[in-house]
Amino acid sequence: MKLLVIEDSERLRRSLGHGLRRAGFAVDLTPDGREGLAYAEINDYDVIVLDLMLPGMDGLTILRTLRQKGRKTHVLILSAKDQVQDRILGLELGADDYLVKPFAFEELCARVRALIRRRYETKSPSIHLGEVEIDTARQSVLVQGEPVALTPTEYALLELLALRRGRVVTREQILAQLYESEDEVASNVVEVLVCSLRKKIQPAGTPPVIVTRRGRGYLIEASSP
């Protein structure tokens, strides 16, 4: 899952970037409003975490511009402005959530995950794929009832495919969603990752959970076993 954090406080940006990455998200960070808008227009983020008082361009202008251009990316406003009218204005301009500073990091993560579920029209944090059960809130995976240890990237790939089940996810989409910079990863990283994941979650003697579509990408069937 890929996030964009537009926040002018350097220290907050740094700790958010660290925490969100450790939570399994790919995160782009920028302190500048104009730069943030450019990122949001170019990339397909699952959620944008947006401060309001920003150098270059204020957060509400960024939000208004995105909505005017038809971008439906979920936006969570993260602001020190705590007045009811500030929150109403933000939500009416098209924000999907509003969190007032100071905030608990875990709450931010939970809200971001809730927005991601909304994006993929899944209300429950649990996803059942036959013998495989994913708890997106706790970021844990059970195979035939037994917990399986996945690396953050493996988990992110499984969640990405599970949330888009029934649809083919291309190699490029996987790279864009899991890695902050595609230039820095090896060319066969996706194949290696899929292979590693399959070994950990594929119960013996059952149809494959992750199916390869040659030349197109990977998918988890909608009616997964």
Binding site: D8, M53, A80, P102, E106
Partner: protein, 491 residues
């Protein structure tokens, strides 16, 4: 509580009622006097008529009185009465109406008529006139008539030649008339007083209506609605200055409230951001404590956040002390050039890192009597501002002069983002130009604090844009006077 309406109505009503009553009584008195005088005049005229009927001949006094010519003296109902005596008390004649009774007479003998009230023999209230006179003799000429009319003319010593006449008639009609007059007068006075009261009440109510309207409008004001202004529907000459002053006061209150509200909101906002940083650091650090390197770096961040919050609190406290006049001053001789150089030295490393050049234009002997510490704080804030917001590689300049007892220090630096409209906001607490918000070290309190210290020292701190350069100019008297600063205290 005292009421203007009551204070106007009570004296006006009481005064008008008293005046009406007094005028009525005076008028009544005049009319009654006139009526009584008329009665007395009629009595005297009739008495003189009877006197002309009295004459003397051969030492005897007689009266040619006949009832048929004057039937009022023998009438059964409401008769009149008279009695005629000689001076020695011998009754010469009395009216039939007396029925042999006497009318009262006084023991004196005088031509001057005497009037008095009495109870008539038939029980009615009456009025009498008593005159002493010398009956006319056959040989009397016009002199007798003149004496008769002259009350000062002496009477003869011979009492046999002097007669006394008492004439009495009822005054019931007069008394009734007087009572009616009193009744009518009091009724008119009461009506007049009521009408006056109503008139006074209506006039005052009408006159005070603009005041009532202002009162109602003032009642609607509260701290949440200070944008409202008092607007009377029909302005009055007397109340317009009051309304103008009130509206001016409201405008000042609104500005002060808005400033206070914005200030509180700004404080909250400025503290929310470092608090958010702290909570985020704590949250992430507690969630993944095994990331030792990252967590170790967080301690430096926490320390920086604490310093930033400390700086905000210290600056706010200094501002509060300046506002309340609790900041004390220490007068000392200050070498301005040396102080500027010393203060700049603190910022020189940062300036160098940004590639800024510094030009100081100040003579060698620039001495002022001032508070060195406060002056250094002002300069430090001006330099900090210049170093932070000057574009890299640009020039910061400082000039200082002391001439004719006046001190001036000007700090100038390029400010490409600043607009003329920003200048009045430079000294607003927590104000920063948009991009400055990214700088956690500057909370927008430096220039307000410099201004507060300048005010404390009796200096002016002004800002101007000169060809894209921001010039902050500190100027005032070179010798800090004790009387010049209200909160001056000796160290």
């Amino acid at each position: 509580m005292r009421s203007i309406r009551r204070r106007l109505i009570v004296p006006l009503l009481a005064g008008s009622c008293l005046l009406t009553l007094a005028a009525g009584l005076l008028l009544d008195n005049l009319i009654i006097r006139r009526l009584r005088a008329e009665l007395d005049h009629a009595l005297l005229a009739k008495a003189r008529a009877l006197v002309t009927l009295t004459h003397q001949a051969d030492g005897a006094v007689e009266i040619d009185f006949a009832d048929e010519f004057m039937p009022e003296f023998s009438a059964r109902n409401a008769p009149e009465y008279f009695e005629l005596w000689l001076a020695d008390g011998t009754v010469l004649e009395r009216s039939h109406s007396l029925g042999g009774r006497d009318l009262p007479r006084s023991p004196r003998l005088a031509r001057e008529p005497l009037f008095r009230d009495l109870r008539l023999p038939d029980g009615r209230p009456g009025r009498l006139v008593e005159v002493a006179f010398v009956p006319q003799a056959e040989d009397d000429d016009d002199a007798w008539a003149e004496k008769l009319m002259d009350p000062t003319a002496p009477l003869p010593h011979d009492q046999l030649r002097t007669a006394v006449l008492v004439l009495a008639r009822s005054r019931r009609e007069l008394d009734l008339l007087i009572r009616s007059l009193y009744a009518v007068s009091f009724a008119v006075a009461a009506l007049l007083a009521s009408a006056l009261g109503l008139l006074v009440h209506l006039s005052i109510r009408h006159g005070l209506r603009p005041l009532d309207e202002i009162g109602r409008q003032v009642e609607t004001l509260d701290a949440e609605r200070l944008d409202l202004r008092i607007r009377p529907r029909s302005p009055t000459l007397e109340l317009t200055p009051v309304v103008e002053r009130l509206n001016a006061l409201l405008a000042r209150l609104q500005i002060a409230f808005e400033r206070e509200r914005r200030f509180s909101s700004d404080i909250a906002h400025e503290l929310r951001t470092p608090l958010a940083e702290l909570r985020s650091l704590a949250g992430v650090g507690a969630r993944w404590p095994e990331d030792r390197e990252a967590v170790r770096a967080y301690f430096a961040d926490v320390d920086a956040i604490a310093r930033q919050m400390e700086s905000i609190v210290v600056n706010l406290l200094s501002l509060a002390r300046c506002d309340s006049g609790q900041e004390s001053l220490e007068r000392a001789e200050v070498d301005l050039r040396e102080l500027i150089a010393e203060t700049w030295s603190r910022f020189a490393p940062d300036a160098e890192a940004k590639g800024l050049t510094f030009e100081l234009d100040a003579g060698p002997r620039l001495t002022a009597i001032s508070d060195r510490g406060k002056l250094r704080l002002i300069l430090a804030n001006l330099f900090s501002n210049a170093v932070t917001y000057s574009p890299a590689g640009s020039a910061v300049s400082c000039s200082a002069t002391v001439a004719d007892g006046k001190l001036e220090v000007a700090v100038a630096n390029p400010a490409p983002l600043l607009q003329p409209g920003d200048l009045p906001l430079l000294f607003e607490r927590f104000w920063r130009k948009d991009s400055a918000r990214a700088d956690a070290l500057h909370a927008g309190l430096g220039l307000p604090l410099a201004k507060a210290f300048a005010d404390l020292l009796g200096y002016a701190l002004t800002a101007e844009l000169d060809g894209g350069r921001l010039v902050l100019r500190l100027h005032g008297v070179a010798t800090l006077q004790r009387a010049g600063v209200s909160s001056f205290r000796e160290p």
